[in-house]
Symmetry: C2
Subunit: 325 residues, 2 copies
């Protein structure tokens, strides 16, 4: 097995090698722009690793890796339109740099481009590849819809939140692993176990993402700290805070989340964080993350790796756990 | 071969049999709603006809027929968001009945749903089916992008307009025919010829659509007459009028298209129509339509039909020519 940075280089080279027609420019430039903004490439690296872990050179799964990364970036492009987000990876989002219609249409074209790249599979693997890809895509739309539905609800439970991030985040990690293992021709039990690993890892990843959004280091996190608090996002932390708060603390939280004055953003974030701290939400959150990480590593026991695959997956998990952005 | 109404019934039954998950309701209800609004189902009927015309029962191509109709309706859903259109088939569009975010996300889910249905093909046909479907989808996005680009241009030529409607309309008729003939295992030359037929038919269809938008009978057309004039759409008629107008008529057209006062809509439409009539644009347009129809029928000479396939395709063309909506 190779290192994360080796796989990352293979992925980035393949993404850079994708050619786009010159015209119509407003259709293809936003796709090239979106893919050029970089990102951690966590999912395509996982696809290459899952392929090589069963003894097949990772290049065999490069189209499925790149197709999945195109798909992931398509979802971010349309999510940014829906969330009216101005910045992504430190650069203007497509609907800000161009306009909303351009973002909708080039996003559609990006989804079909992802499908085209994904379809470049051996004919005998194509039905399974398309099935995994399309099923995962539907689950991700469902996750995004639940996320939007939660905005107008005040009774979201931790279980509902976990199910939402399973759909919105975990299944794409799961598909990344399954695509690589399908291309490698892994046995069904190993495919299932690696999928189980990815589901738990995805939950830990998203819980940590939410944690960093509130408790990350502004110097390294890459985006504004406290965005989820300002948007009153129904994260594990917010839901747990309300669940554990007494009457007085609940009223204080309600008052803080009711603040709708940008000049008081810092006060709002600091106030909510102080309550989270008092209620020991950071500890609760870290325990949740650790629990899902432990479960993800347990799944690896059931995978029939060839060679040093297990070590590579453990290194990947460690890298994710120790990230600060 | 069966009649148009027989194929239509098979298509509508298959569309009605598609099941949607109950939750999340905001994701799936707009898809079911869109598909329930009806439509002429021209493209899926063509797929069934193209399959049966080569001696294979049309049911073999039902998934490709229905998948293509889902795709077509997905493009209408997102186009209506981009065009800010309130009404489609006499009913509120999705972004009006729900909201814009719902229209974007359920549209994305509709595109993936189309891909899922399209993928239900025999394994040996799947690579060709996916290739036709995805390539066509990219062409349609290109056509839509050109159409949007044309809005801010005043130098669009007839050739550019024809290329735009080839991409936006013809290629989907082409894909409808090719998918049916691929499923039936038709010889390559017949597939090509039937595709050529569909390309010319698509051009005639769109030119006629534009003609009816200005000259249709309000009682039967189903939508407001003159919409293209009010939006100054760069149709064959508008482009030809400017190309054939003398200086005085050009100024009069400019003045009419500059009217931006809803209470003068009727005056604007009547004024432009009077100029079209004076310049004999309706005759020019009809000649164009007839020319493409003649070419489409010529292509049929090169198709190795089994049985009475040719007669069925001629009947389909006649039905399209004589439509009033």
């Amino acid at each position: 097995m190779q290192s994360f940075s080796d796989y990352l280089e293979i992925v980035n080279k393949a993404i850079a090698a994708v050619e786009y027609p010159a015209q119509p420019a407003h259709l293809y430039e936003p796709i090239a722009y979106t893919m050029s903004l970089g990102g951690k490439r966590l999912r395509p690296v996982l696809t290459l690793m899952a392929c090589e872990a069963f003894g097949t050179p990772c290049e065999a799964a490069i189209n499925q890796a790149v197709g999945l990364e195109f798909y992931h970036n398509f979802t971010l492009l349309h999510d940014d339109v829906m969330d009216k987000a101005d910045v992504r990876r430190g650069k203007p989002t497509v609907h800000c740099r161009w306009d909303e219609n351009t973002a909708i249409l080039s996003g559609d074209a990006m989804l079909t481009t992802a499908t085209i790249i994904m379809s470049k599979a051996p004919a005998d693997k194509l039905p399974a590849v398309m099935d995994i890809f399309n099923r995962t895509a539907m689950e991700i739309y469902e996750g995004q819809q639940w996320d939007m539905d939660f905005e107008s609800r005040n009774d979201v439970t931790v279980d509902e939140y976990i199910e939402m991030i399973r759909l919105k985040t975990s299944v794409l990690f799961g598909a990344a692993c399954r695509l690589g293992s399908v291309i490698a021709g892994a046995d069904e039990a190993s495919q299932e176990a690696l999928y189980g690993f990815a589901m738990e890892l995805g939950l830990a990843f998203q819980l940590q993402d939410d944690y960093l959004d509130t408790y990350g280091d502004p110097a390294t996190f890459g985006k504004e700290i406290g965005g989820d608090i300002l948007n009153a996002k129904k994260t594990f932390m917010l839901i747990s805070a309300y669940r554990n708060a007494d009457k007085e603390t609940t009223e204080r939280l309600d008052a803080l989340f009711a603040i709708n004055d940008k000049s008081r953003n810092a006060e709002k974030i600091a106030g909510v964080k102080a309550i989270y701290d008092k209620l020991e939400i950071p500890r609760l959150c870290t325990e949740q993350i650790d629990s899902h990480l432990a479960k993800s590593l347990e799944w690896l026991d059931k995978v029939a790796f060839k060679g040093d695959g297990r070590k590579a997956f453990e290194a990947y998990v460690n890298m994710l756990v120790n990230r600060d952005k």
